[in-house]
């Protein structure tokens, strides 16, 4: 996957450049939710964003879709700076970018029927001419997410978590967006339902050539759906690489710590599992750090004097991989 990245330059759909998002700036209760992050999302890929609670993942998603106004930095969507979108072009931007929310119980208005929830975007953007067309489109969307047309006249509280999340997906798809931000869409669901929703998201992506920003804290699920993964901690990006690279060849100690916490359904392994603790004091040694490319396509948040260490680790991975007779990039 990462090989294709370097082979031919793909179109960058979303570019985040030095984004900072502070809440209550300049006050005693200032919160630096996002502190200078930059990354690009290519058209057609799934970009995974992982990190622990409070690391700024959701804030990043909400800044990109302009629910918040960034403190500084730029977000470009299709080459256009989203903070400079004029009022009359805003509606068009809203149509192209959509969001799937975390809590399926809070993301649907309890006083609206399912068909009105799904058709909200259709109404706002005048995508349908009359009621028949509206109903037909709603039925089509319900069908797409695996619900039946009988559900259109029901209220959200009558549905299970997974069904509700699928209604949320249908609502996002109604306006035919190009880019969808999935803000922990599966973390509130049962494990059995998680796969259902993730597979649905994948199918739809293939059918409609969508680009996803997939935010989650569950590394194994992110690895399953993402092409590239960014690891976030304390409002900064720690590591950014192809999904398999992050999963198999982590470089940053924080990523290693996160990976060591992923449970495996293997009692023998679990009994001897050793959790690596991450000591974030290494970030506060006053060395200026930026994202540095260690191996092509693999970035790590590092200071200049740490580069050699990271390169040595990457080298070691390469040797291990070649010893096993595999290319490290297609592990």
């Amino acid at each position: 996957m990462s090989a294709t990245n370097s082979d031919r330059p793909r179109k960058k759909l979303v570019q985040v450049q030095h984004l900072k998002q502070y809440f209550n700036p300049g006050k005693p209760n200032e919160v630096k939710a996002i502190d200078d992050i930059s990354f690009d999302i290519y058209e057609g890929e799934t970009f995974g964003l992982v990190g622990e609670s409070g690391s700024g993942k959701s804030t990043t998603g909400r800044s990109i879709i302009r629910l918040y106004n960034p403190t500084s930095g730029k977000i470009l969507f299709d080459g256009q700076d989203i903070s400079r979108i004029k009022h009359r072009d805003m509606l068009e931007f809203r149509r192209e970018m959509q969001m799937i929310f975390q809590d399926p119980y809070a993301s649907l208005n309890p006083r609206m029927k399912v068909k009105d929830i799904i058709a909200e975007g259709l109404d706002v953007h005048h995508l349908v001419k009359n009621d028949q067309e509206r109903d037909a489109r709603v039925n089509e969307l319900l069908n797409l997410v695996g619900l039946s047309r009988d559900h259109a006249t029901r209220y959200p509280h009558e549905f299970s978590g997974g069904q509700r999340q699928r209604i949320g997906i249908a609502r996002a798809l109604a306006v035919q967006p190009r880019f969808i931000i999935a803000d922990e869409p599966i973390s509130a669901l049962d494990v059995s339902i998680q796969a259902q929703v993730v597979n649905l998201l994948r199918e739809i992506q293939q059918e409609q050539n969508l680009t996803y920003l997939f935010i989650a804290h569950d590394l194994s699920m992110v690895k399953y759906i993402s092409d590239r993964i960014a690891v976030m901690h304390n409002g900064r990006l720690m590591e950014l690489a192809a999904a398999d690279e992050v999963y198999n060849h982590p470089l940053h100690p924080y990523t290693k710590s996160l990976l060591s916490a992923v449970p495996r359904p293997d009692p023998m392994y679990e009994r001897s599992r050793h959790r690596t603790d991450y000591d974030d004091s290494i970030e506060f040694d006053n060395h200026p750090r930026t994202l540095q490319e260690i191996v092509p396509g693999h970035f790590v948040f590092a200071a200049a004097d740490e580069l050699a260490d990271y390169q040595a680790t990457a080298e070691k991975y390469l040797h291990e991989a070649s010893a096993l007779g595999k290319s490290p990039l297609n592990a």
């Binding site: 909400r62 879709i65 629910l67 805003m90 509606l91 809203r94 149509r95 970018m97 959509q98 969001m99 929310f101 975390q102 809590d103 809070a106 993301s107 649907l108 208005n109 309890p110 006083r111 609206m112 929830i117 909200e120 975007g121 706002v124 953007h125 695996g146 619900l147 039946s148 009988d150 559900h151 006249t153 029901r154 209220y155 009558e158 549905f159 069904q163 949320g168 609502r171 306006v175």
Partner: protein, 342 residues
């Protein structure tokens, strides 16, 4: 064991699938579809006190509507000769015999006053010979009208004010909240007295005075609720879809605020009625000769020791209205918001 296994031959055909076969059947919801309001009404029906209150209020409102066109006699017509007659219903029900206790002896007041046979005053007459039952009907109607009008102000000012203040947040919110604090720091009574300097006493000035101060509780409740609602994901979803703030308010906020609005309305109607009664009682409310519950109580208490019926019935009426509104409001709150039940 092995013997049994030999006898028992298992093939895929020997299994029968139990339960739903296709996904459509799995996803089917068999429960009847209830809207939020249907569900709330179902819960309300289980609350006996609220239901009794509801029917009492329905009867009282019906009586006051009837009083617009018909009362047993003209509520403002004076028959000085028939002054202070006790209640009388033709068939001799105790308490409604038209007799009064004068110096230890029961005296038929109707005979004394030479009231023609067949003329009864169900609740008696006042010191000017006006029919108290008709006055009570008119009085209830006027008090309810004041309650409704004051509540209309509540809704028209309080709800938009609270939504704007909560939704905009920041400086707008701060300024709007300071304005509320300034208004609420002036006692109602002072506002009413100031209004009386500008306007003639009466329905208009009472309603305006209550309108100026009454919406504050509503605005505060709505603002607090809006602050929670605006961070709800469905409101964020509406924003990302590109819904305009006005549409978000009407489609998402107001339907979800409706229970707060209804409950607060039900509490503010009796407050307004009570405030009017208080103003009329101290003599700065509804001017004579119009009847309201307050003026009836005020007239009645002057002769309460000798002619207690003149105050009992208006007092009973206002008590029933207050209790019924409060019990119904309580019931509605439990029905709309089952979480706050305990």
């Amino acid at each position: 064991m092995s013997e049994q296994a030999d006898k028992l031959e298992l093939t895929p055909d020997s299994f029968k699938r139990v339960g739903a076969n296709d996904t459509d059947a799995q996803e089917k919801i068999s429960a009847p579809s209830l809207t939020f309001f249907q569900d709330a009404i179902r819960r309300l029906k289980q609350n006996k006190a609220a239901i009794i209150s509801f029917w009492l209020l329905a009867i009282i409102i019906l009586i006051s509507i009837v009083s617009i066109w018909w009362t047993p006699s003209d509520p403002n017509a004076q028959h000085v000769a028939y002054a202070n007659l006790p209640p009388k219903i033709g068939n001799g029900i105790p308490g409604f015999t038209g007799q009064a206790n004068v110096g230890g002896q029961l005296v038929d007041k109707y005979a004394q006053a030479n009231v023609p046979k067949g003329t009864y005053y169900i609740l008696g007459t006042d010191y000017l010979g006006r029919d108290l039952f008709s006055r009570l009907m008119k009085g209830i109607a006027l008090s309810l009208l004041i309650g409704m009008l004051a509540t209309l102000f509540d809704l028209m000012i309080g709800v938009p004010y609270g939504i704007i203040s909560g939704w905009r947040g920041g400086h707008t919110d701060t300024i709007m909240q300071r304005i509320i604090e300034i208004i609420s720091s002036i006692p109602n009574l002072v506002v009413v007295i100031l209004m009386l300097l500008l306007f003639t006493p009466g329905l208009g000035s009472i309603v305006v005075a209550m309108g100026i101060t009454g919406w504050i509780t509503m605005a505060r409740l709505i603002r607090a609720e809006t602050l929670t609602l605006k961070t709800q994901e469905y409101v964020l979803a509406a924003r990302t879809i590109g819904e305009s703030p006005f549409k978000i308010a009407t489609k998402h906020l107001i339907p979800n605020l409706s229970s707060t609005i209804i409950i607060q309305t039900m509490f503010s109607i009796p407050t307004a009625i009570f405030f009017e009664a208080f103003l009329s009682f101290i003599g700065i409310g509804i001017p004579a000769p119009n009847a309201s519950l307050g003026t009836l109580l005020s007239d009645g208490q002057k002769t309460f020791r000798f002619l207690p019926y003149q105050m009992w019935y208006p007092a009973a009426a206002i008590s029933i209205i207050m209790i019924a509104f409060n019990l119904l409001a309580d019931g509605l709150r439990d029905a709309f918001d089952p979480k706050t039940n305990n």
